[in-house]
């Protein structure tokens, strides 16, 4: 119904404008894809060579020719999924506590969490690195996952979302004898699934694309994530002498993200729309 209303309101100029905007948005992606299908030598002289055949899959073959690529892919998946699961659990629990429970220093703690939004990760990188070195966690999955679990945005996001859920639901459940945990698990969590999906996508995306922490924590090539591994595989001046390979790497690294968006797009749109309406 909403979609039909939206379509009916779109005038021809609006559709053309939107179409053009969409084209502009997608053009760099298509350009990347085309470049990835060309031999490096063809692109050195003129990248316009990407607009006409011959095309090749050699650059993708070179990615898989590196014996560690699948290992990096697996590392990225473990780290991204681990961080996503961890953030969802911690942010939901913390969000519920801040939204529903009363406890000493609640406001102060929430302000401290919010302050975390203002601290760039680079500012704490030295003590963080020292701490993980002291704990012997570098070059390990916990070492790669744990820093990502500090997610003030996630806590803030879930707190805000949960505050929007009527407290009467909790009270009714309490009257029926439900415990706090039951209320959280059986009532609140299902109602926050759209927000969880959004937070999951953002967290997964951030973890998948993260470069800085894996670069200095995973210093052994078998523990590289895909971003670090692919960067390490590049030769100097890759942007000129290895442009096709570089673009194939970009396409390859973005495929999982693309899949995540495709799978979760309904939840993302629903969550965004819900947030907008509220």
């Amino acid at each position: 119904m909403a979609a039909r209303l939206g379509q009916a309101r779109l005038t021809l100029p609006a559709r053309v404008s939107l179409g053009l905007a969409a084209l502009i948005m997608v053009a760099p992606l298509l350009w990347t894809l085309l470049l990835s299908l060309k031999h490096n030598a063809d692109l050195v002289g003129h990248s316009g060579a990407a607009l006409h055949p011959p095309y090749t899959l050699d650059n993708y073959g070179a990615i898989f020719g590196n014996s560690l690529t699948l290992r990096w892919l697996m590392n990225s998946a473990i780290v991204a999924l681990g961080q996503t699961a961890g953030v969802l659990i911690l942010a939901s629990l913390a969000g519920y506590a801040f939204a529903r429970l009363e406890f000493p220093l609640k406001r102060t703690l929430f302000v401290i969490v919010l302050l975390g939004l203002a601290v760039p990760s680079q500012a704490v990188i030295l003590p963080q690195h020292q701490l993980f070195a002291w704990l012997h966690l570098h070059n390990s999955y916990p070492g790669l996952i744990l820093p990502g679990l500090v997610a003030p945005f996630g806590v803030f996001f879930m707190t805000t979302y949960m505050r929007g859920i009527p407290a009467e639901l909790d009270e009714a459940a309490m009257l029926d004898g439900a415990s706090r945990w039951t209320i959280f698990w059986k009532i609140i969590v299902p109602l926050t699934l759209p927000a969880q999906s959004t937070l999951a996508v953002f967290t997964f995306l951030g973890a998948w694309n993260d470069y800085w922490w894996p670069l200095i924590s995973a210093t052994r090539s078998d523990m590289y994530t895909l971003t670090v591994g692919l960067a390490a595989a590049q030769m100097n001046y890759a942007q000129t002498s290895g442009l096709g390979y570089l673009m194939a790497q970009a396409v390859f690294a973005s495929i999982p993200i693309f899949i995540v968006y495709i799978v979760f797009q309904k939840q993302i749109v629903r969550a965004m729309a819900g947030a907008a309406v509220r």
Partner: protein, 435 residues
């Protein structure tokens, strides 16, 4: 559930039963990219091409020739120094690392690198055979902190077909300028006769280009760039004269103005200009174009060190080296490192096929090296090359600052004295933070 847990434990236990390995392991960290798909199993160094191919094959060959040692390779994203610093901080540094000679002081002066004199002696590497540029690049306070591996610097890559059209060829060789005014005159003649720019310049996003020009021609006039380890001196009559000269090149349209590195490389390959001043590392790519029938650069390529325009014929250079981070190591590992040094020194010619200048005089004199395309023309770089003083730290960062300000001066975004003063201030601020 218990059965499943037991089964998992058994699998884990069996999985951890590795075959006993009695080899001495050396952990080597390098840049130059990853090319295991093409060279992962290759030990035929003569057939390898490019930096990545040659270094990968050399290490494979070392492992094959030394069955009692195994080099475990870690390939890092260029240039790899954030990772190395993190490893040092975590007290888990590699045993061998590729390092730009300009970076050695950052680590060596903090005691994070071992002097390698003993390794060189143990490996039988003749340090008297180092070229002057190579020796200067790895020596701090009289001690060698690395095995020099090459010298690299700026070169004038020349399109000889366009030079011929411009009337600037004599006896099959390009006539390069010998004075600053002659370069301008040649540039005008070139533009008139070919309709193309004399110089292709990567003025955008390539601070090394501008820094190289400024350093080189200030050094040529005897300027002392660093009066001490904590101060740079650029805003001098010499510095102003050099920067004003490069500004004049742009004002008089002797060179391209708004190109970044990929654009400049593409322009040179497509025959869109006479000279592209860039590094030794591009020789292989340009030579390939010059030997490919139908390409604009076909049979039309020559390359030389920067010409002498003022004073002495010297040129700012850097180099790659192998360094040994400070760490507790067994006698076997030390012997293995020494053997690796001997192997790499013996194979310096193979590395010189990348286009970089060898670090050993014997390789420079080797007939095989001279027979490589253009090497006889660029070999003088080993003699005229001058690195920055080895006691100056943060040379990479300094190059970035100087290059940024120099480019602003060359392109007219800033007045020359202002840009040089800003460069001095920023560099001196940076060096003031160094212990």
């Amino acid at each position: 559930m218990k059965r499943l847990a037991r089964a998992l434990l058994v699998v884990l236990a069996l999985g951890s039963c590795a075959k006993p390995d009695h080899r001495t392991h050396i952990y080597l960290q390098r840049f130059f990219g990853e090319c295991g798909a093409e060279y992962g199993g290759s030990i035929d160094v003569a057939k390898a091409e490019g930096e990545c191919g040659i270094i990968t094959t050399l290490i494979n060959r070392f492992n094959a020739e030394n069955p009692d040692i195994h080099i475990d390779v870690n390939v890092v994203a260029w240039p790899g120094y954030p990772q190395l610093t993190a490893q040092v901080a975590a007290r888990d540094p590699p045993d061998l690392v590729t390092m730009h000679e300009g970076v050695i002081s950052d680590y060596a002066l903090k005691g994070l690198l071992e002097p390698v004199d003993d390794y060189l002696k143990m490996g039988g590497v003749d340090t008297n055979d180092f070229t002057d540029a190579a020796r200067a690049g790895v020596t701090i306070n009289g001690r060698a902190y690395g095995l020099p591996w090459d010298t690299h610097g700026g070169l004038f890559h020349v399109n000889t077909a366009l030079f011929a059209k411009a009337g600037l060829m004599r006896a099959g060789k390009p006539v390069l300028p010998t004075t600053a005014d002659e370069l301008i005159a040649q540039g005008k003649q070139f533009e008139q006769r070919t309709g193309k720019p004399y110089l292709i310049q990567s003025n955008v996003g390539d601070p090394a280009f501008a820094a190289r020009n400024l350093y080189t021609y200030m050094m040529a006039q005897g300027a002392v760039l660093f009066p001490d380890a904590h101060h740079i001196k650029l805003n001098t009559p010499t510095g102003v004269a050099v920067a004003e000269y490069f500004r004049r090149i742009n004002v008089e349209r002797i060179g391209t103005l708004n190109m970044d590195t990929p654009a400049a490389i593409a322009a040179f390959i497509n025959g869109e200009g006479g000279i592209y001043p860039t590094g030794t590392w591009m020789i292989g790519s340009f030579q390939k174009e010059a030997t490919t029938r139908g390409r604009p650069l076909y049979n039309s390529y020559a390359v030389f060190p920067y010409p002498r325009l003022w004073g002495a014929h010297v040129e700012y250079v850097s180099g790659h080296s192998w360094v040994v981070p400070t760490h507790k190591r067994s006698a076997g590992q030390r012997a293995a490192i020494a053997r690796f040094f001997r192997f790499m020194a013996a194979h310096n010619f193979d590395w010189a096929r990348t286009g970089h200048i060898p670090a050993f005089n014997s390789v420079l004199a080797d007939a095989r090296f001279k027979a490589l395309p253009h090497r006889a023309d660029i070999a003088p770089l080993a003699e005229i090359g001058r690195p920055l003083p080895s006691n100056v730290q943060r040379q990479n960062a300094i190059e970035g600052i100087v290059g940024e300000e120099a480019a602003a001066a060359f392109t007219g975004q800033k007045k020359v004295p202002q840009a040089l003063a800003d460069a001095e201030r920023r560099v001196n601020d940076l060096l003031a933070e160094v212990e």
